[in-house]
C-alpha cells in the first residue's frame, strides 16, 4: 500500500519529500526495487527496505518472493532490524518451509548471544515459526534457555514450551520439557512463575486427565507467594490457575481466600474478577455459620461496584458477570440497587445489562425506586432499551406481588402513549401478569382491546389473542375480535396461528352456540390449508377432542393453568455453577459453556463448584445435588395436599428451592395444547415453589395414613380413655367468628356481602349475607374461589334462586370442600373470592379461621402423640402467649374440643396444668400442642409443633379466638 512506501520515503528523506513518480511504480517494479534495496550494502537502506516489506505485508500484499533477500538481512547486530526480519519470518516461514531452514543457524547462534534480550528474542521467534523441520532444531536451544541464568530468557522460554506443544505435543513430552516447566513454578522470579503457570494451564487444558499442574498445598503456597510479587498479568494467570484447584477442606479454603482477598483492591479489573472467581468458588466450601463467611460476602460487594466505574467495555464484562453472581448469591449485592441505575450516556450494551440486573435485584424494599426508574427508561430513544424496560416493569409485577398493581397502572399509562412498540411490549407482559395473578387485573382488558389494530408483531398479536381466548366469557365481542384475525390467517406467523387456533377453541367451549361456524373455519384452515405440521396436528387434536367428547375437551383446554414462576429467565443451575467457575472469561460474557463456542478439545472440560465439606451444613446448601440428597430423609409434610401425585413429589426433590420453576417460561405467549394436558401434573410440580422447601410432601403421605388407623384401634382407644379426662363437660359447639363485611356495597355496584365461616357436623360452610343496596334487581349469582392454601372450593353452586330486589337481604350457606386447587397464600388463611351477578364480577378476599379445617378424627393416640412430638424437630416448635384468659384448664379443654382440638393428656406439675392436644387439618397435617395453664395466672403459654410450621401462627390465632369467646 502506498502509505507504507510513502512513509518510508519520508523517513529517509524528511517530510518534504513526496516523490510523485514513486506512486506510479508498478507492482513488479516495486518488488524488484525492494530486492535491490535489501541487498544494498548500506545498513540504513537495508533497514528502510525491510520496513517497506513489513508495511506491504501488513496490508495483505504478498511479499513472499523476497524471502531469501530478507533472510539475508538477519545476521545483523542491529536489534531493530533483526526484529523486523523475524516478524517477516513468522509470517512467511509456513509458506516457504524449505527456505525457512536457512534461518535456523542464525536462531541457534542468537540463542547463545551474550545479550539476554537477543537470546530471548531468538527463542521467542523460533517458537512462532510453525515449521516441523525447524522445531527439531528448536529443542536444544530451548532446553538451554529454560535454564538460562537470566529471568527474562527463562520467562520467554516458558511460553515457548506452550508454543512448541501447540505445534508438536508429542515432541514436548518426549523431550521432557513439561518437567522443566513444572520446575519453573518454583523459580525465584515471579514473572517466570507466572508464565510457567500460564503455559502449564494451557497445556493441561488439552490433556484433561493428566495431572500436569499437580496442584497441592505446597505448590499452591508457592503460587500465592508469587501472586504478591508479579505483574498484573501474572496475577491473572495465577488466579485463573488457582481457580482450578479444589482445596482439601474448609480450613485450607479459608486460608486461600484470605490470601486472595487483597487482590480485590487491584486497579486492574481482570485481577479483581479473577480474584472474585476464586472466592466465589472456594466460598462454596466454607460453612455458612462461619464469621469469615459473612465477612467475605461483605468484602465482595464494593469491588464489584467499583468495576462499574471502569471503561464501558469492561463495565460490560463486569455486568455480565455480576448477572451470574447475583443469581448465585443474591445477598452480595442486594443493597446496591442504585449503582445499576442507567445513566443517560451509557452505551446501549451497558444499559441493557444494567436493566437485567435491576430486575434481578428488585425486591419489596426497593421496588418503588426501581419502578420510577423503569418508567423513566420507557420514554428513552433506543427501541430495544425501551422494550426491555417495559418488559422489566412486567417482570417486577410478577416478582414483587405488592407492586403488581402499580406496575399494571404504569403499563396502562405507557399504553396510552400509543407508541407502537411500547404498546406491543406492554401487552406481552400484561399477559404474563394475568397468568401470575388470575382474576385480579382483568378489568384492563377493555383498554388492551382498543389497541388491537396497532399490533403488528407476532409476539404481541399472539399475546393479545391469548388474552381474548382466555377471557372470552368477559369480552362481549370476543368472536368478532378473533374473527378479524382469522381473515389473514395464512399471512400470520406460526406463533399467531397456533394461538389463534387455541383461542377460538377456547371461545367455542365457552360460548358454543354462537361460535360453531368460527371454530369450524379455523379447524379447517389449520388442518386442510396449512402445511405446518405443528399447526395441523394441533388442529386435528382439537377436532377429535371436540367431536368425540366435548366435556373432556373442556377439561383439557380450559383446565386450570399453572401459575407462572417469578423468574422466567434464570440460568439453569448446573450451567450457572459452571459459569461461576468461568467468571471473567468469555463463557461468562456469553453465558454459554466454553464447549458452545470453542472448537476442539480445549476448554471443553466441565468445571464444577466444590461441595461443601463443613459438617451438618449440607442441607442448607442451595446446590442441586446436596438439596436432593440431603433433605429427602427428613422431609416435612406439606401444607399442600399432594393430590396423590407421587410423580410430582419425586420431581420436586430434584428442584433447587428458590431458583426454578416447573412450568416452561411463558415468554412465547402461547398456551400450548400440550401444556394444557399436563396442567395437573405441573400444578403439583409447582408445589416446590409454593412450599418454599424442596422436599415438601415427600414421605408425608405415609405418616398420616398410619396414624388415623391406629387411632381407631381398640387398644389405643382404651388407653386413651383410661388416661383421659373424666371431668370434661359436654363439648360445646365449634367456634364461629362473627360475620363481617367482606365486600362493601360501594365497591361492588351496590352488592354488599358479609359473612363468616363455620364447621357444622363436619361440613365447612361459608355463611353469606347478600344485600342489594342498588336500585335494580340482581340475579344470576355465582361464586368462585381462587386457589388457596388448603384447596377450599365451593361444593355446590351458590343457592340464590330468587332475584334479589333493591334493599333485600338474603342469607345463604355455601358448603365447601377441600379438594380444590392449591396455592400457598399469604397469609395462609387468605381466600380470594369472586362473586358474579348479572351486573358484573366482583372480587374480594377474606380470611377464614383455620379451626374450620380441624377434622373430627383429630384425636391422636397417646403413644403416637409422644412419638410424633419427639419426631418433629425442635426448630418446628413455636411458642405463643395467650393473655387474659380466665378459664381453668378443664373448661378450656372442653371449649377447645368443640372446635375439634382434642386434649389427649393432662399433667399437673407444681400447680401448673399441662394439656397435650392434637389437631388434624383437612389436608392431613397434624398439629400437636402443649398448653400450660397456671392457676391464678391469666396468661397461658402454648407451644405448637407441626411438620409444617407455617400453620402454627394460624392455629394459635384459633386458640386465642376459641378461648376468648
Amino acid at each position: 500500500m502506498e502509505w507504507a512506501n510513502q512513509l518510508c520515503e519520508n523517513r529517509q528523506f524528511g517530510s518534504k519529500m513526496t516523490d510523485s513518480k514513486y506512486f506510479t511504480t508498478t507492482k513488479k517494479g516495486e518488488i524488484f526495487e525492494l530486492k535491490a534495496e535489501l541487498n544494498s550494502d548500506k545498513k540504513e537502506k537495508k533497514k528502510e527496505a525491510v520496513k517497506k516489506v513489513i508495511a506491504s505485508m501488513t496490508v495483505g500484499k504478498d511479499v513472499s518472493a523476497l524471502f531469501p533477500d530478507v533472510v539475508n538481512c538477519m545476521q545483523t547486530d542491529n536489534l531493530e532490524l533483526k526484529k523486523l526480519v523475524y516478524l517477516y519470518l513468522m509470517n512467511y516461514a509456513k509458506s516457504q518451509p524449505d527456505m525457512a531452514i536457512m534461518a535456523v543457524n542464525t536462531f541457534v547462534k542468537d540463542c547463545e548471544d551474550a545479550n539476554p534480550l537477543i537470546r530471548a528474542l531468538a527463542v521467542r521467534t523460533m517458537g512462532c515459526i510453525r515449521v516441523d523441520k525447524i522445531t527439531e532444531y528448536l529443542c536444544e536451544p530451548l532446553r538451554k534457555c529454560l535454564k538460562d541464568e537470566d529471568p527474562y530468557v527463562r520467562k520467554t522460554a516458558a511460553v515457548c514450551v506452550a508454543k512448541l506443544h501447540d505445534i508438536n505435543a508429542q515432541l514436548v513430552e518426549d523431550q521432557g520439557f513439561l518437567d522443566t516447566l513444572k520446575d519453573l513454578i518454583s523459580d525465584s522470579n515471579p514473572m517466570v512463575v507466572a508464565n510457567a503457570v500460564a503455559a502449564l494451564s494451557e497445556i493441561a487444558e488439552s490433556h484433561p486427565n493428566s495431572n500436569l499442574l499437580d496442584l497441592n498445598p505446597q505448590s499452591i503456597n508457592k503460587l500465592l507467594t508469587a501472586l504478591n510479587e508479579c505483574t498484573e498479568w501474572g496475577q491473572i494467570f495465577i488466579l485463573d490457575c488457582l481457580a482450578n484447584y479444589t482445596p482439601r477442606d474448609d480450613r485450607e479454603s479459608q486460608s486461600i481466600c484470605e490470601r486472595v482477598t487483597p487482590r480485590l483492591s487491584h486497579a486492574n479489573s481482570a485481577v479483581v474478577l479473577s480474584a472474585v472467581k476464586v472466592l466465589m468458588k472456594f466460598m462454596e466450601m466454607l460453612p455458612k455459620d462461619l464469621d469469615y463467611y459473612s465477612t467475605l460476602l461483605k468484602k465482595l460487594a464494593p469491588p464489584l461496584v467499583t468495576l462499574l466505574s471502569a471503561e464501558p467495555e469492561l463495565q460490560y464484562v463486569a455486568l455480565r458477570n455480576i448477572n451470574l453472581i447475583v443469581q448465585k448469591r443474591p445477598e452480595i449485592l442486594k443493597h446496591e440497587m442504585k449503582v445499576f441505575f442507567v445513566k443517560y450516556n451509557d452505551p446501549i450494551y451497558v444499559k441493557l445489562e444494567k436493566l437485567d440486573i435491576m430486575i434481578r435485584l428488585a425486591s419489596q424494599a426497593n421496588i418503588a425506586q426501581v419502578l420510577a426508574e423503569l418508567k423513566e427508561y420507557a420514554t428513552e430513544v433506543d427501541v430495544d432499551f425501551v422494550r426491555k424496560a417495559v418488559r422489566a416493569i412486567g417482570r417486577c409485577a410478577i416478582k414483587v406481588e405488592q407492586s403488581a398493581e402499580r406496575c399494571v397502572s404504569t403499563l396502562l399509562d405507557l399504553i396510552q402513549t400509543k407508541v407502537n412498540y411500547v404498546v406491543q411490549e406492554a401487552i406481552v407482559v400484561i399477559k404474563d401478569i394475568f397468568r401470575k395473578y388470575p382474576n385480579k387485573y382483568e378489568s384492563v382488558i377493555a383498554t388492551l382491546c382498543e389497541n388491537l389494530d396497532s399490533l403488528d408483531e407476532p409476539e404481541a398479536r399472539a399475546a393479545m389473542i391469548w388474552i381474548v381466548g382466555e377471557y372470552a366469557e368477559r369480552i362481549d365481542n370476543a368472536d368478532e375480535l378473533l374473527e378479524s384475525f382469522l381473515e389473514g390467517f395464512h399471512d400470520e406467523s406460526t406463533q399467531v396461528q397456533l394461538q389463534l387456533l387455541t383461542a377460538i377453541v377456547k371461545l367455542f367451549l365457552k360460548k358454543p352456540t354462537e361460535t360453531q361456524e368460527l371454530v369450524q373455519q379455523v379447524l379447517s384452515l389449520a388442518t386442510q390449508d396449512s402445511d405446518n405440521p405443528d399447526l395441523r396436528d394441533r388442529g386435528y387434536i382439537y377436532w377429535r377432542l371436540l367431536s368425540t367428547d366435548p366435556v373432556a375437551a373442556k377439561e383439557v383446554v380450559l383446565a386450570e393453568k399453572p401459575l407462572i414462576s417469578e423468574e422466567t429467565d434464570l440460568i439453569e443451575p448446573t450451567l450457572l455453577e459452571e459459569l461461576i467457575c468461568h467468571i471473567g472469561t468469555l463463557a461468562s460474557v456469553y453465558h454459554k459453556p466454553p464447549s458452545a463456542f470453542v472448537e476442539g478439545s480445549r476448554g471443553v472440560m466441565h468445571k464444577r463448584l466444590p461441595a461443601r465439606t463443613g459438617s451438618g451444613e449440607s442441607t442448607e446448601s442451595p446446590d442441586v445435588g446436596t438439596a436432593a440428597g440431603g433433605s429427602a430423609p427428613e422431609a416435612a409434610p406439606s401444607i399442600i395436599p399432594s393430590q396423590g401425585d407421587l410423580l410430582g413429589d419425586l420431581l420436586n426433590l430434584d428442584m433447587a428451592p428458590p431458583t426454578t420453576s416447573g412450568p416452561p417460561p411463558p415468554t412465547t405467549g402461547m398456551q400450548m395444547g400440550g401444556m394444557d394436558l399436563l396442567g395437573g401434573g405441573l400444578d403439583s410440580l409447582l408445589g416446590g415453589d409454593i412450599g418454599g422447601s424442596p422436599a415438601m410432601g415427600a414421605g408425608f403421605g405415609a405418616a398420616p395414613a398410619v396414624m388415623p388407623a391406629s387411632l381407631n384401634a381398640p387398644v389405643g382407644g382404651g388407653l386413651g380413655d383410661l388416661f383421659d379426662l373424666g371431668g370434661v363437660g359436654m363439648p360445646m359447639g365449634a367456634y364461629i367468628p362473627p360475620k363481617i363485611v367482606w365486600l362493601p356495597a360501594m365497591k361492588a355496584k351496590g352488592l354488599e356481602i358479609s359473612g363468616t365461616f363455620a364447621r357444622r357436623a363436619g361440613v365447612i360452610q361459608m355463611e353469606l349475607i347478600l344485600t342489594n343496596k342498588a336500585m335494580s334487581v340482581m340475579t344470576d349469582f355465582a361464586i368462585q374461589f381462587n386457589r388457596n392454601s388448603f384447596g377450599l372450593a365451593p361444593a355446590g353452586p351458590l343457592q340464590v334462586l330468587t332475584p334479589l330486589g333493591p334493599n333485600q337481604t338474603i342469607e345463604v350457606s355455601l358448603p365447601l370442600s377441600t379438594v380444590g386447587p392449591v396455592m400457598k397464600m399469604d397469609p395462609l388463611n387468605n381466600l380470594q373470592v369472586a362473586v358474579k351477578n348479572n351486573i358484573d364480577v366482583f372480587y374480594f378476599s377474606c380470611q377464614y379461621p383455620i379451626s374450620m379445617l380441624f377434622v373430627e378424627d383429630g384425636k391422636m393416640e397417646r403413644q403416637v402423640f409422644l412419638a410424633t412430638w419427639k419426631d418433629i424437630p425442635n426448630d418446628n416448635e413455636s411458642q405463643f402467649q395467650i393473655k387474659d384468659c380466665h378459664l381453668n384448664s378443664d373448661a378450656a379443654s372442653s371449649k377447645l374440643q368443640g372446635s375439634n382440638i382434642f386434649t389427649i393428656a393432662k399433667r399437673t406439675v407444681e400447680g401448673q396444668d399441662m394439656l397435650y392436644m392434637s389437631i388434624k387439618l383437612s389436608n392431613g397435617i397434624w398439629v400437636l400442642a402443649e398448653l400450660r395453664v397456671q392457676a391464678g395466672n391469666s396468661n397461658y403459654t402454648i407451644s405448637l409443633k407441626c411438620r409444617a410450621p407455617e400453620v402454627s401462627q394460624c392455629v394459635f390465632q384459633c386458640y386465642e379466638a376459641v378461648l376468648k369467646n
Binding site: 501488513t58 529471568p151 504478591n228 498479568w233 487483597p262 483492591s265 460490560y316 407508541v419
Partner: protein, 436 residues
C-alpha cells in the same frame, strides 16, 4: 489466549495486523471489518462472535483496536490489555491517530512483540519498556546495562529502574475527583457518588519507599482508639474522616499490607502514575444544585426556567461552569435571558448551553428560556433528557484530605524533609444530571 491483534482506521483498512496463534486466519481481519466496522447498525456489544471466533474491540477516536481469539479467554484481561496497549502507544507517540500509527508502525510491531507473547500479556509498564524499546534503535549496551534491563522487566519492581537521580527531590499529588449526581426534578438525590483518583508525579532519586496517608475513616478510628494524643492532634488539624466505599491501587502498592493494616506503602514509578482510585457515596458535598422548571404552553411552546445554586464556602470559586439544557428536536427558535454568564441555543446539539466563567460559593443564578416548537404529528413524546452540568471546584467533594506522604530512601542521603511536596485538590463534575 489472544490469537491476534488488529488495528483499523475508520474505513476498516488494516493498519496493524499481528497474529499470535495459528487458529486465526487472514479472513478474521475481514470478518471483523464486514460484521462490525461496516455493520449497518450501531455496535450492540464490545464482544462479537463471528463463526466461532470472538472479537474484542475498543475505539480510540476513529481508530479500532480489535483482539481476536478462538478460545475461552479471560475477557476482562483482554480489555485491560487493549487499554494498556493504548496507554503504551500514547506514551510513545502521543495521540492514537491514523497518521501516528502509520508513522510508528515498526515501533508498534516491536511493542506488540514484546508485550504480548503467544497471546499472553507480558510486562507492559511504559517505564520499563522505554529502557529497551526506543525509536532511535538500540545503542549497544554494556553487559550490566543489559542485565539491569532484564531484571527490571521481569523483576518485582518492574515499574521503576535503579539509579534515578534528581538534584531536587520533588513530588506533586493531585487529588482529582469527579462528582456524579442524578437528581429527580423534585430535588431528591437518586444517586450520587464521587469517583476520585490520586495522581502522583514524583521526581525522586533512588528507590524511595513512600507511605501515603489520608483521612480514611477506618484508619482514623483505629488511631483514635490507640492514643488520646493522636486523637487530639487529629481534632486540632480539623480533619474529618471520610468513609471510602472501595479503592483500588496502582500495582506498586503493596496490597497485602493494605489489606492487613490499611496502610498504603509503595515504591513509586518515576514520573506520573495513578496511585489510587476510590469511590465514596456518603456525605458528599454536592457543589451545585440545579432547580429546573419546564412548562409546556400549548403544543408549540415550552417555557424553561433553571436556577443553579452553589453550595460551598463563599471564599472558594468554581470555574468552567456549563449548564446544558436539552431542547426538543422540533425546536424552531429559542429566546434566552440569563442573569450571569452567556447562554446560547445550539441547534446542532439540541440544547441551550449556558456558560459561566466563575461563580463563588453560596450564590445563585438563573436562566429562563422560551422555546418555540414546530408543530409535528409525531406521536412519540419528547424524551426530556436530563439537564447536565459541568464545573470545576478547588476542593474535593468527597471531603478527602491528604494527611501525609512520607518518603524514605535509606541508601541516599536525603530525608523526608528535603522532599518538596505539593498537594492540589480538584473536583470536577462527572455525570451531573438533574431530570426535568
Amino acid at each position: 489466549m489472544i490469537g491476534g491483534l488488529f488495528i483499523y482506521n475508520h474505513k476498516g483498512e488494516v493498519l496493524i495486523s499481528r497474529v499470535y496463534r495459528d487458529d486465526i486466519g487472514r479472513n478474521a481481519v475481514d470478518a471483523f471489518r464486514v460484521n462490525v466496522i461496516h455493520a449497518r447498525q450501531q455496535v450492540r456489544s464490545p464482544v462479537t462472535n463471528i463463526a466461532r471466533t470472538s472479537f474484542f474491540h475498543v475505539k480510540r477516536s476513529n481508530i479500532w483496536l480489535a483482539a481476536v481469539t478462538k478460545q475461552n479467554v479471560n475477557a476482562a484481561m483482554v480489555f485491560e490489555f487493549l487499554y494498556k496497549m493504548c496507554d503504551v502507544m500514547t506514551a510513545y507517540f502521543g495521540k492514537i491517530s491514523e497518521e501516528n500509527i502509520k508513522n510508528n508502525f515498526v515501533l508498534i510491531y516491536e511493542l506488540l512483540d514484546e508485550i504480548l507473547d503467544f497471546g499472553y500479556p507480558q510486562n507492559s509498564e511504559t517505564g520499563a519498556l522505554k529502557t529497551f524499546i526506543t525509536q532511535t534503535g538500540i545503542k549497544s549496551q554494556s553487559k550490566e546495562e543489559q542485565s539491569q534491563i532484564t531484571s527490571q522487566v521481569t523483576g518485582q519492581i518492574g515499574w521503576r529502574r535503579e539509579g534515578i537521580k534528581y538534584r531536587r527531590n520533588e513530588l506533586f499529588l493531585d487529588v482529582l475527583e469527579s462528582v456524579n449526581l442524578l437528581m429527580s426534578p423534585q430535588g431528591q438525590v437518586l444517586s450520587a457518588h464521587v469517583s476520585g483518583r490520586v495522581v502522583m508525579k514524583s521526581y525522586l532519586s533512588g528507590m524511595p519507599e513512600c507511605k501515603f496517608g489520608m483521612n480514611d475513616k477506618i484508619v482514623i478510628d483505629k488511631q483514635g482508639k490507640g492514643g488520646a494524643t493522636e486523637e487530639a492532634a487529629g481534632k486540632r488539624s480539623g480533619h474529618q474522616s471520610i468513609a471510602i466505599d472501595d479503592c483500588t491501587f496502582h500495582q506498586c502498592v503493596r496490597l497485602s499490607k493494605f489489606d492487613a493494616e490499611r496502610s498504603i506503602s509503595f515504591i513509586p514509578p518515576d514520573g506520573e502514575c495513578e496511585l489510587m482510585r476510590y469511590r465514596t457515596t456518603k456525605d458528599i458535598i454536592l457543589p451545585f444544585r440545579v432547580i429546573p422548571l419546564v412548562r409546556e404552553v400549548g403544543r408549540t411552546k415550552l417555557e424553561v426556567k433553571v436556577v443553579i445554586k452553589s453550595n460551598f464556602k463563599p471564599s472558594l470559586l468554581a470555574q468552567k461552569i456549563e449548564v446544558r439544557i436539552p431542547t426538543p428536536l422540533n425546536t424552531s427558535g429559542v429566546q434566552v435571558i440569563c442573569m450571569k454568564g452567556k447562554a446560547k441555543y445550539k441547534a446542532s446539539e439540541n440544547a441551550i448551553v449556558w456558560k459561566i466563567k466563575r461563580m463563588a460559593g453560596m450564590k445563585e443564578s438563573q436562566i429562563s428560556a422560551e422555546i418555540e416548537l414546530l408543530p409535528t404529528n409525531d406521536k412519540k413524546k419528547w424524551a426530556r433528557p436530563p439537564i447536565s452540568m459541568n464545573f470545576e471546584v478547588p476542593f474535593a467533594p468527597s471531603g478527602l484530605k491528604v494527611r501525609y506522604l512520607k518518603v524514605f530512601e535509606p541508601k541516599l542521603n536525603y530525608s523526608d524533609h528535603d522532599v518538596i511536596k505539593w498537594v492540589r485538590y480538584i473536583g470536577r463534575s462527572g455525570i451531573y444530571e438533574t431530570r426535568c
